[in-house]
């Protein structure tokens, strides 16, 4: 083999490798920058009261965001419970059950279109569906709104990941006599596990920062959540309210709450990856 063509290809390869590393570095740099700024402004908000007390009006001591933290946990958890199974099963539908059919193509098209919907529109939709008829804002409506936002993210990722699993795996399982559902859940899922988990985590990360849909559904509250059918305090709307206020203590709390959200999502990500880790054989 002649030397020159190889050197050119090798050089190209090296350049791309360098660019990749630089790009990754740049991404981390921005993250570090944002983290630094948020941390600088928000770390000071973390005290015992932050995690245990109810909100206090501006200028008062000892206020916290405990009810908002609990509310966000509840709303996000319920949204996940609703949105993730539905999203994954839709992905299964698109990639396994109805693969290649016209119906699947139509559903896939619709799911993609849903991804571009501004979250405020989804909030309005759920408002018309679950708030107006009952005459009250509710944490449950908020969870439903978030679930709808999660759906296309989970479904599309699941669809893509499941589709990437080679057919040889399916053929082998079917040849052994496994029913279709077994093939999907035991074999294909396991092969696509990392990707499915990514889809779920991305969806959770996506909704954990959403404000507008909750504004029209769960509203917000300064008291402890007592029922799913009442307005429920949540971190994002509180952050919005506090950040837009002229009071230094409220603004600091807003930054602190944002830091908390980031930490929580990171924690969830790490936990999920550990739990669903591929066991090395």
């Amino acid at each position: 083999m002649r030397r020159r063509p190889n050197t050119g290809r090798k050089a190209q390869d090296l350049v791309v490798k360098a660019i990749s590393a630089a790009a990754a570095l740049l991404g981390i740099f921005f993250l570090g920058w944002i983290l630094f700024e948020v941390g600088k402004r928000g770390l000071g908000a973390f005290d015992a009261a932050f995690f245990t007390s109810l909100p206090a009006p501006p200028g008062s001591e000892g206020g916290g965001l405990a009810n908002a933290i609990l509310g966000t946990l509840i709303i996000t958890a319920i949204a996940t419970v609703i949105g993730v199974p539905l999203g994954i099963m839709s992905g299964v539908y698109l990639a396994e059950v109805a693969r290649g059919t016209k119906r699947a193509a139509a559903v896939r098209f619709i799911v993609n279109a849903m991804m571009g919907l501004p979250s405020i529109i989804i909030g309005l939709f759920v408002y018309t569906l679950l708030v107006l008829p009952f005459g009250r804002f509710s944490g449950f409506a908020g969870a439903v709104a978030l679930a709808i936002i999660m759906l296309p993210v989970v479904a599309r990722t699941a669809d893509d990941m499941l589709s990437l699993v080679p057919n040889s795996l399916r053929e082998a399982a079917l040849a052994l006599g496994a029913p279709r559902w077994r093939v999907t859940f035991s074999i294909v899922f396991r092969a696509a596990k990392a990707g499915l988990v990514t889809g779920v985590l991305l969806a959770i990360a996506r909704v954990s920062g959403e404000t507008a849909p909750l504004l029209f559904t769960a509203l917000n509250s300064v008291y402890w959540p007592t029922s799913l059918m009442e307005p429920m305090g949540n971190l994002t709307v509180t952050i919005f309210n506090y950040a837009m206020s002229p009071y230094a203590d409220w603004q600091r709390a807003a930054w602190g709450a944002s830091l908390l959200i980031m930490a929580a999502v990171l924690g969830t990500t790490v936990l999920a990856r550990v739990v669903f880790k591929e066991k090395k054989r």
């Binding site: 991404g27 948020v38 571009g116 405020i120 985590l201 954990s208 920062g209 990500t269």
Partner: protein
């Protein structure tokens, strides 16, 4: 080969549940679409098609036109994707092919963490930290070097279309990267090894084998990012300057559909105003649909979905 009766019933349930989920999502989307059209009907009736090409936004005289918002959405999204997609591709490449495992995990987690930043924080960081940086360093530099282009006219205020586009690119980067990384991982090693076995470099393997194999998944990743960029409200409204004028310059202020909708909806009480705002949302929905149709026409014929299909 006889399948056990319980297995057949299990399969029926399985298919039923999957179909219910798939149809269910479609129904929800259709429901949203229908309610969008219903709420924007008064505005559709009043303005008709002129809504799409008029550049007026006057709540007081109730004259509404979506043009500046559509323009802003498209431009900011294009900037975001033009920056984010290549970056995501090479970062995913780095994470899967280049970085040793002890490095790939934390770097990957760090990139994913960008997705966890609440959008209002992107907005506030953008306004209080990044925009001044843009005003002091980036925009003047661009103006000095490329200022003859109408793209870079105007005073460097730090906010504007370019800043909004860059912040959007940061927001969509983790989504696109994470999915691309998983796509790269799911390409069977045997396929890659075959390429290496023939003497290909890493980049050549990636370009010619991995990307081709996972092309559909990569496009899915881009759509994920596109969806996020197009519907983003908080981050954009903080830094885009919220002006209803259209300008070619990237330094100029503009607005996007999502930001206008979010800004004005909570204070609007007149029915026609509300209807026009919802119609903006409908227009956005239609834009996403059109992009999708375009992409599918472009890709759909040539690429078979790799891997699955039984």
């Amino acid at each position: 080969m006889a399948v056990r009766p319980t297995a057949r019933r299990g399969d029926r349930i399985y298919r039923g549940v999957a179909a219910a989920a798939g149809i269910g999502i479609a129904l929800v989307a259709v429901g949203v679409g229908v309610s969008l059209v219903a709420s924007s009907w008064p505005s559709i009736e009043k303005f008709g098609l002129s809504f799409l090409v008029t550049d007026r936004w006057s709540p007081v005289t109730e004259q509404f036109g979506a043009l500046s918002s559509v323009y802003g959405t498209l431009v900011s999204t294009v900037i975001a994707l033009v920056i984010a997609v290549p970056f995501s591709l090479v970062i995913a490449l780095f994470l899967v092919e280049l970085a040793p495992p002890w490095l790939a995990k934390p770097v990957g987690a760090a990139i994913e963490l960008l997705a966890a930043v609440p959008s209002i924080i992107y907005g506030m960081w953008g306004l209080f930290v990044f925009a001044p940086f843009m005003a002091e360093h980036v925009q003047p530099a661009l103006k000095n070097s490329l200022g003859f282009l109408p793209l870079f006219e105007g005073p460097p205020m730090g906010i504007g279309m370019l800043t909004a586009g860059i912040i959007l690119s940061l927001m969509v980067l983790p989504f696109i990267t994470a999915v691309m990384r998983d796509v790269f991982t799911m390409v069977p090693p045997i396929v890659k090894e075959a390429s290496y076995g023939m003497g290909s470099t890493t980049w050549e393997t990636t370009r010619k084998v991995t990307v081709r194999y996972g092309f559909s998944g990569l496009i899915g990743a881009v759509f994920l990012g596109l969806g996020r960029a197009v519907g983003e409200t908080m981050a954009v409204t903080f830094v885009i300057g919220n002006s209803h004028d259209i300008s070619v310059s990237l330094n100029a202020a503009g607005n996007s559909i999502a930001s206008t909708l979010a800004n004005e909806f909570t204070e609007a009480s007149e029915p026609m105003y509300l209807s026009a705002l919802v119609e903006l949302g409908l227009v956005l929905f239609l834009i996403t649909v059109l992009i999708q149709v375009g992409a599918q026409v472009w890709i759909g014929r040539t690429v078979k979905r790799a891997g699955g299909g039984l």
